[in-house]
């Protein structure tokens, strides 16, 4: 009797089959890549306007001069999105649950959550930042800080929670109803079923779009510059304003790229891992 192979051990095509086939594919891939990118570089550097472009956008000296300050300012972007993301993940989950709660008595909650997500997905983020960043402090609400960092984070949290709530909701709805049926049939209450069975699965399923929104958030921290704080984008803008050499902008872009790409690959890995588990556990 052979032990049937669980679905989880099915390997992706990229890893290939027996060893010799894999090595050959890798070699071909490597050579093809070198040729392709070598081609691209050659074409670009031999184009007529290249020296100008190189001087304006790829100046090594400007890069060296501006990079340290930009990296330091980037620390503010990092602080902004780390703080914001924590609150977004929590608040959005609350909104998603509010929107999913069944029963007529909870209609006002569902309505409130729907109105909220509609509103904050409609208004451009930049507007919210302006309104809260400049407008809210003038109200002089007691006990509430007026710092642009606080209001910038608040604005980002309010806006992004609306998007992320919808992501959670999609996740909740994607968990097959048989999971809830199984949980309830064991005698777990609705909140228990939600907490132990549905939400953990829902959240795991939507990690890729959650990470996607997180990546978007990282970029939108640059908007906080509008209300004063000098983060990476603003710092590069200050550098550019003097010389009108645009290399500092590229330095900032590079920082964001270095931040995003590992996260993107991590997301891919998570997708693969979750897919394995989901497919095998009881058909749905």
């Amino acid at each position: 009797m052979t032990e049937p192979t669980p679905l989880g051990s099915r390997r992706s095509r990229i890893l290939g089959g027996p060893r010799s086939e894999g090595a050959r594919s890798a070699l071909i891939a490597a050579v093809s890549t070198i040729v392709f990118f070598g081609l691209a570089v050659l074409l670009v550097t031999n184009a007529p306007g290249w020296p100008e472009v190189k001087r304006s956008f790829f100046s090594a000296e400007q890069f060296r001069d501006s990079f340290p300050d930009i990296v330091e300012a980037f620390g503010l972007n990092i602080r902004l999105f780390l703080v914001a993301e924590v609150f977004i993940l929590a608040f959005a989950l609350l909104l998603a649950v509010m929107r999913s709660v069944p029963g007529a008595v909870f209609f006002p909650l569902r309505l409130l959550a729907t109105a909220y997500t509609d509103l904050f997905r409609s208004v451009p983020t930049v507007l919210v930042i302006y309104i809260l960043g400049f407008g809210a402090p003038t109200l002089q609400l007691s006990g509430v800080p007026s710092s642009p960092f606080f209001w910038g984070v608040t604005a980002l949290v309010l806006v992004y929670s609306a998007y992320v709530a919808e992501v959670y909701r999609a996740g909740i709805q994607s968990v097959h109803p048989s999971q809830e049926a199984a949980a309830r049939s064991l005698g777990l209450s609705q909140p228990q079923a939600l907490r132990f069975v549905i939400l953990p699965q829902a959240v795991r399923r939507v990690v890729p779009p959650l990470l996607n929104d997180f990546i978007g958030l990282q970029k939108d921290t640059a908007l906080v510059a509008l209300i004063g704080p000098v983060e990476a984008f603003r710092q590069s803008q200050i550098e550019v304003a003097g010389s009108f050499n645009y290399t500092p902008y590229l330095a900032t872009a590079l920082l964001f790229i270095l931040l995003t790409i590992p996260m993107a690959r991590f997301t891919d890995w998570l997708i693969a891992r979750n897919r394995r588990r989901e497919l095998a556990a009881g058909g749905r």
Binding site: I28, V31, S32, V35, F36, G38, L39, L42, L43, T45, N46, A47, P48, W50, P51, E52, K54, R55, S56, S59, A60, E61, Q62, G133, F134, G135, A136, P137, T138, Q140, S146, S147, P148, A225, L226, I227, G228, P229, V230, R234, Q237, I238, A241, G242, S243, F244, N245
Partner: protein
Amino acid sequence: MRKSFVILLVAALAALAAGCGSDDTDDVGAEDTTAATETDTVSTATAQDTCAPESLNLVEPGQLTIGTDNPAFPPWFEGGTPEGSSWEINDPATGEGFESAVAYAVAEELGFTEDEVEWTVVPFNQSFRPGPKDFDFDINQISYTERRAQNITFSDSYYDVNQAVVALNSSPIANASSLAELQDAKLGAPVGTTSYDYIVENVQPSQDPSVYDTLNDGVSALAAGQIDGLVVDLPTAFFITAVQVEDGKIVGQFPSVGEQEYFAMAFELDNPLVECVNEALAALKEDGTLDAIQQEWLSDKASAPVLE
């Protein structure tokens, strides 16, 4: 698998061949950003007649095109906006306000009539970037700096200016009387301005200054209490405290450090028109017109305690 590989290789070789055919202008040494893309025409202003309107090299022949930003703030521009104007706060064509008056005076010296002067909107930060311009000159509280002078040509000074700091009456620095008292303050300034440079180079507070896209954003921040003080040139400070931030005051003005800061008109790099304008300015200074204009529009906006 083999076939596509060969095709790729052939394509690579073909591109290489094409690439080698084109001009190899790889610029190894030029890292410094002297934006010298214009052809270098050093014009030595000869006789007066090269400055006559007909012989001037203008953006729009027969018309003097002058640039400034929108909104056009007092006291630099006054007179409000007539019906249907796309200008906010003030329309430069009224001829009222210090810079508007200076511009029309220079135009008159050059031989243009009032109707031959046209205004165009140029955002502040665009006025001193390198490249061709769609104005003959720009007058917009632009201070001379060496860095900017690498991208554009400046006229001579038409106004010596000092930076000043504006604060709410409730601000911790409202009653400061020295630079030292500003050390712990949260200051702010619009991006790319000499105001910002002054904070960073001369005041050097312990907190990084806040930076804004526009002057109006800086004023909003001041009104919201997010900065203790906003640094702007002194006459603009008067406008802000008189109109925009009524609960505010001018804490004081800063002394010029090194060379006196001054406003000048901005021209496209190496535009020979600057010589003619300088002559006009010289004439206006000599016959007292410039002084009179200054008296009319800025006399009550020039005094504030000096913070040292």
